[in-house]
């Protein structure tokens, strides 16, 4: 109700005034980035509070080398099934979209299960599902793999670039050159993981950390909670999204992740290799592992010249500080993935940022 929100904005203003300290909050989800912009929430934040975007867009953090691996499968005549978000992400030798333009067989999925249908309908062809996304999305891929085994679908495999959020957040919390005062944590990742994997932020780094959903009210409440903790000098992990997030997470989904995937190191664009931050297929499910089936060697990619996507993803700069932003790099002609994805920070700034105070 509007009265409530007015009270929340006022409480935020007073708490920020009382603590009289500059606060930089990193939101770790592209959906938060877009919601905060679209709703105008950023304009009601106290001047001392700054919201910066983190590595929360799975498309954006997918390494160039991973995209190249998917493109190499297409050149070998494989059908690649991928979420639409991935289509325009450029790499040195093109994108899924440009490869489709050249006649290669790329299919759009709105659910991982679409790949099962494609494999069933094309028994004579190899079909690979491109598994991209965080903990929210990985259980769907795990279900796909389990179903493929149950149904004995032999022509389907998964190229898993799924990533785990807490190790990336930890890498940023500990980075000497990025000053972050608090974290706004991703609600739908937390639906799966629960609270525990993020507790280290308060316990080890002394940082307020608040799990929130994605409507503007949720983000506003999380900002109030962060301001309250800073004012009280008592950082802790809290959630304002109890309607969806159980403290213990979704045990069924976690069990499935554990059954199908094993934790491995993963490469994040802009951050580099982060230990234990990825999901690869377990040995038991090795028959469905596209890396193994096609003997893929994934070579770390080199970012396009001049693209500062990595610095944007880690909060080191905001998009307008990149010389390519709005000039050489636009949504119609993106240089890096942060401009491609609808939830990429550069894409969000391009659409919503109008010389707001910085």
């Amino acid at each position: 109700m509007p009265g409530d929100l007015r009270a929340a904005v006022e409480a935020l203003r007073r708490l920020a005034e009382e603590s009289a300290t500059a606060v930089t909050v990193m939101e770790v989800c592209g959906t938060h980035t877009v919601s905060a912009f679209r709703s105008g929430l950023r304009s009601v934040l106290p001047k001392s509070m700054r919201l910066i975007s983190g590595p929360g867009c799975p498309v954006c953090v997918t390494d160039q080398g991973e995209i190249e691996a998917a493109l190499s499968l297409l050149r070998r005549g494989v059908v690649v099934v991928a979420y639409g978000d991935m289509f325009k992400v450029p790499s040195a030798s093109g994108s899924l979209a440009s490869m489709r333009g050249e006649g290669h067989d790329v299919r759009t999925a709105t659910s991982a299960m679409d790949a099962l249908r494609v494999a069933e309908e094309n028994p004579g062809r190899e079909v690979v599902f491109l598994g991209v996304g965080f903990e929210t999305t990985a259980p769907a891929t795990a279900t796909l793999v389990r179903e493929a085994r149950r149904k004995g679908i032999a022509n389907l495999s998964v190229l898993s670039f799924h990533k785990r959020t807490p190790p990336a957040v930890e890498a940023l919390a500990g980075a000497a050159d990025v000053q972050i005062s608090a974290f706004l944590l991703p609600g739908h990742v937390s639906v799966i993981t629960g609270h525990e994997p993020f507790r280290f932020l308060a316990d080890r780094f002394g940082l307020p950390a608040v799990i929130a959903g994605f409507d503007p009210e949720q983000i506003l409440l999380a900002m109030v909670e962060i301001a309250r903790q800073i004012r009280a000098g008592a950082p802790e992990l809290r959630s304002v999204y109890g309607t969806a997030v159980r403290p213990e997470g979704n045990r069924k989904a976690l069990g499935l992740l554990d059954e199908v995937f094993s934790v491995r190191d993963a490469r994040w664009r802009g951050i580099g290799l982060i230990p234990d931050s990825g999901y690869g297929l377990r040995g038991d499910y090795g028959d469905f592992d596209a890396e193994r089936r096609f003997s893929l060697v994934i070579v770390p990619g080199t970012p396009p010249a001049g693209c500062r996507c990595g610095d944007v993803l880690t909060g080191r700069i905001t998009p307008p500080q990149c010389p390519l932003f709005r000039t050489a790099c636009t949504p119609l002609s993106p240089v890096g993935p942060c401009m491609v994805s609808s939830e990429g920070t550069c894409g969000a700034y391009f659409r919503f940022h109008r010389e707001e105070r910085t």
Binding site: E10, A11, G30, Y83, G133, T136, P139, H188, G242, N250
Partner: protein, 79 residues
């Protein structure tokens, strides 16, 4: 990419599937990731999968925060 939309389960189908409704949109979803799906449940749907049932009430943590907001803001409002 982590967008999820609340749906209400209308009918359970076989094989871990269900028909769910969000506003005017009726769609088939997977229920593999939630315990005991039932018609009438409100679930969060992400990429075609129900990832959690939504609790009907706000959590105590949230209600406490609203109490704090009322105290700090001094904003008086009815209901």
């Amino acid at each position: 990419m982590c967008l999820a939309v609340p749906h209400t389960i209308e009918t359970l189908l076989d094989d871990g599937r269900a028909v769910a409704v969000a506003g005017a949109v009726r769609t088939e979803i997977r229920t593999d990731l939630i315990e005991n799906p039932s018609p009438g449940d409100t679930v969060l749907v992400h990429a075609g999968f129900a990832i959690e049932k939504l609790a009907p009430e706000d959590s105590k943590e949230l209600l406490d925060l609203w109490e704090e907001i009322r105290r700090v803001s001094g904003v008086d409002y009815a209901g």
